[in-house]
Symmetry: C2
């Protein structure tokens, strides 16, 4: 797990923060937020909030009291304890892309399959830069629809030994996620004191928590499993076109979602989510890796810290249709701010292409390079007598011939670890590059992905657990009629 000990980059003045606070309080108290599950409005009414149908008008101070019940930091356990993580503080946890219906390898762009899904899990397991495969790295469209979540979770439990996310499509899927994790962790009752999966609940922005998400949230929160409550804001469509307005809306949506979660189970682990980007106002399409996303990231980090909440944001976003220069600069355009903001949970860290329609094997490798570079950049240096390397300067400057540091004692001692070693980037001379077939970064990335898949080793799992998981999948698939 990466711990970001470098400073945070903050852009909100006290005045700006006060303006945002005024903004979200007015939204929740004057316009209200919609909660489309009767159990939710009943709970909120019983807690003294003004309920009118699905609309709930909140007392902002009550919301803040609820938000204050959420832990600032918590553990999430992996079946391999070495891969367990801490969410919150200076910790940054990275997971692969989530949700794309299409998979792409080289020029082949097609609907994702269970085979693609498994390959992305294998890659996610292979890179120590990643803490989790997440969940729906790509949609396995060839698996039967109603029991697909079982196939995905079986793959998550067997092909990786890192933490993963829970299924949220239906409350019964959430129950399956918990039951299967229970098999792995020695009984579902173990999970209550040992959270093992984070689940992504998106707000149906603007200001509407739909029943599907609320009902799945209820299952996870009751089981004390962390939920990631994420306003999904494409500015211009789901929020106004001004960043301050989008941030106020984000706070209104996330804080009221968190308030409800704390009503279901006080002290349950939650993550303040943010998915914030903007529409292209000429075409209406979604832009990714934009300046507006970067600014939003700086702000949301600061907001989360003010309210002592772990937060999720960022990712290796791009709207590019291919793994080209745009894909490279857009991914970094969001990922560097993700680090500067000290984001605690970073979904979409590997594979994202085409505004999230595609999970790309080549882009996955590009993203691993970006992640590696940033983890190196945000690792503090040691400033001391040794790192000043005065002896190297003495050695070189006393030499009468070639004045370079390649052969100094200090270099010989440190050359293996002194610099970040690229996974993908090439600094070969043009002639050498040409001789090797003029392979650009995308082509080389495809080769690296294929090689990593070939070298993949499945983590060990007790055969009895594996068998029990298999039996669960078979039984439930039959029950679901698939």
């Amino acid at each position: 797990m990466f711990v970001n000990k470098q400073p945070r980059y903050e852009i909100l003045s006290e005045d700006a923060m006060a303006t945002l606070d005024k903004g979200w309080k007015r939204l929740v108290s004057e316009i209200g937020i919609e909660f489309a599950s009767p159990w939710a409005t009943e709970l909120l009414a019983a807690a003294g909030q003004k309920v009118d149908g699905i609309n709930v008008k909140f007392d902002p101070e009550w919301v803040l009291e609820q938000v204050a019940k959420a832990p600032a930091q918590f553990d999430v356990h992996a079946r391999n304890p070495e891969n367990s993580v801490v969410i919150g503080g200076d910790n940054m946890v990275f997971a692969s892309a989530y949700g794309p219906p299409f998979a792409r390898r080289g020029a082949l762009r097609k609907e994702g399959t269970l085979n693609d899904y498994r390959d992305f899990l294998k890659l996610s397991q292979s890179f120590s830069l990643l803490d989790s495969a997440g969940s729906v790295v790509v949609e396995p469209n060839d698996a039967p629809l109603d029991s697909r979540h079982l196939d995905m979770q079986f793959a998550l439990e067997t092909l990786t030994d890192k933490i993963h996310m829970g299924n949220v499509s239906r409350p019964s899927n959430a129950e399956d996620s918990l039951n299967m994790a229970g098999i792995v962790f020695g009984g579902r009752e173990q999970l209550e004191t040992k959270p093992v999966m984070i689940s992504l609940l998106n707000c149906n922005s603007p200001m509407h928590w739909d029943s599907g998400m609320l009902n799945s949230m209820q299952v996870y929160v009751k089981a004390n499993q962390p939920v990631l409550l994420t306003p999904f804001l494409i500015m211009g469509a789901m929020s106004p076109v001004s960043i301050p307005a989008a941030l106020a809306q984000l706070m209104a949506e996330a804080f009221t979602g968190i308030a409800l979660a704390q009503l279901v189970r006080p002290g349950c682990p939650v993550i303040l989510g943010s998915f914030l980007t903007n529409a292209n106002m000429q075409s209406g399409s979604t832009c990714m890796g934009t300046p507006e996303s970067a600014i939003g990231l700086f702000a949301i980090g600061q907001i989360a810290r003010k309210y002592n909440l772990p937060f999720r944001s960022g990712g290796a976003f791009t709207s590019s249709q291919s793994v080209d220069a745009q894909a490279g600069y857009e991914a970094l355009m969001t990922m560097m701010p993700t680090f500067l903001a000290g984001t605690n949970y970073v979904l979409h860290s590997g594979g994202w292409l085409e505004s999230g329609l595609v999970s790309s094997f080549e882009k996955f490798i590009v993203d691993m390079e970006i992640l590696g570079m940033l983890q190196a950049t945000f690792t503090p240096l040691e400033f001391n007598e040794e790192s000043l390397a005065f002896g190297a300067h003495e050695e070189v400057m006393s030499s009468t011939d070639s004045r370079h540091f390649l052969g100094t004692a200090h270099t010989m001692e440190n050359f293996r670890t002194c610099f970040y070693r690229p996974l993908l980037s090439s600094s070969d001379a043009f002639e050498r590059w040409e001789k090797n077939g003029c392979k650009d970064a995308a082509e080389r990335a495809g080769e690296i992905a294929a090689q990593k898949l070939e070298e993949y080793v499945e983590p060990e799992l007790d055969p009895a657990i594996r068998e029990e998981l298999e039996e669960y999948v078979v039984r439930r698939r039959a029950e679901l009629g698939d």
Copy 2:
């Protein structure tokens, strides 16, 4: 000119800064710096420094007294006053690539020509994101060698009306640069109170100021033209493999160069330069856009501010051989830290490819997109009642049908300017992108470059001045025997 009113990102603790101060002071006092021009060592000896041949051992306190004479901020005048700039403070000034021998358009990579040179000047003039074409955007290899600097400067004075840089290859070239600028600005004597060109003097690192650079520096400093004194550090080759050691060396080289400049002309405008990256320790090749470069940038900005010096660093670097994903992420990997560090003068902001061997027309356009995105990112937001756009939320949430912000009054008023508008990036749907020929960012960039060149309009210039410049070039070319 872009003014960066966002905060700086700083990583050096007081202890770290003290360690660096100890480091450079020990280098200049115990090992010494080499100055390969007799006039320089004579001046330094007369000022009480210990000279032994070309080696000069410095009293660090004297160096700091000299450094303190340099202005923290100064103006540089363009022939079009609207394009004049201020160097220092929160101002950021951007110039195109400098030095590449090769030019590349699409697949065609060849030695640069005067035609390529002129085209890069036209592009540099066309983008208001750039403040300067710089000087040697690409080497015009088909122009006669000894008088090539005249051809370049004639092009700079006529095809652009922005500030530019002076030639440093020989002191007589520097004299030509000043004489030609004198023609444009109403007499060379005008320049002394009105600096018009910045000249790049690289240290021959480690710790050697060669005679060519020193002699050109002398010409410019005497004429009160700003000089950019730049340690050129590829860690592992020209400096030790530790970043603190490289920073201490950078301070030693730059500060002593500045001290000498202030001895030639107290109060002359100087810029603390930094070109800092690392070798690939496996192959010995130069890596660009690395984590080490980014860390160095954060540190050098902080050092420059401590010593009240304007500073130059950063750029759109890449070691990639083509305009691919690597070129995209490496360029941004240095350019975002360039903004975070608040760099005052940013050379290599457009066109750089292949570790500086190539000036690429496609990469130039990629770099303009990156520059535009970053200027937008580092522009502060307004947080107020208006930007909270409460009315937009009221309007949308009171609607009974479609809940989106595309048609709200607030959006209609602001949609033209609310978001950064991409120059190059595409968010087209895949089907549309495919129908349009599957053009990746590099291909689209080539089309944009060609279109910009077609639309280019030469800035007006008094025909008498143009004629005088032409006569100067003809006369001097004859004198130089070309």
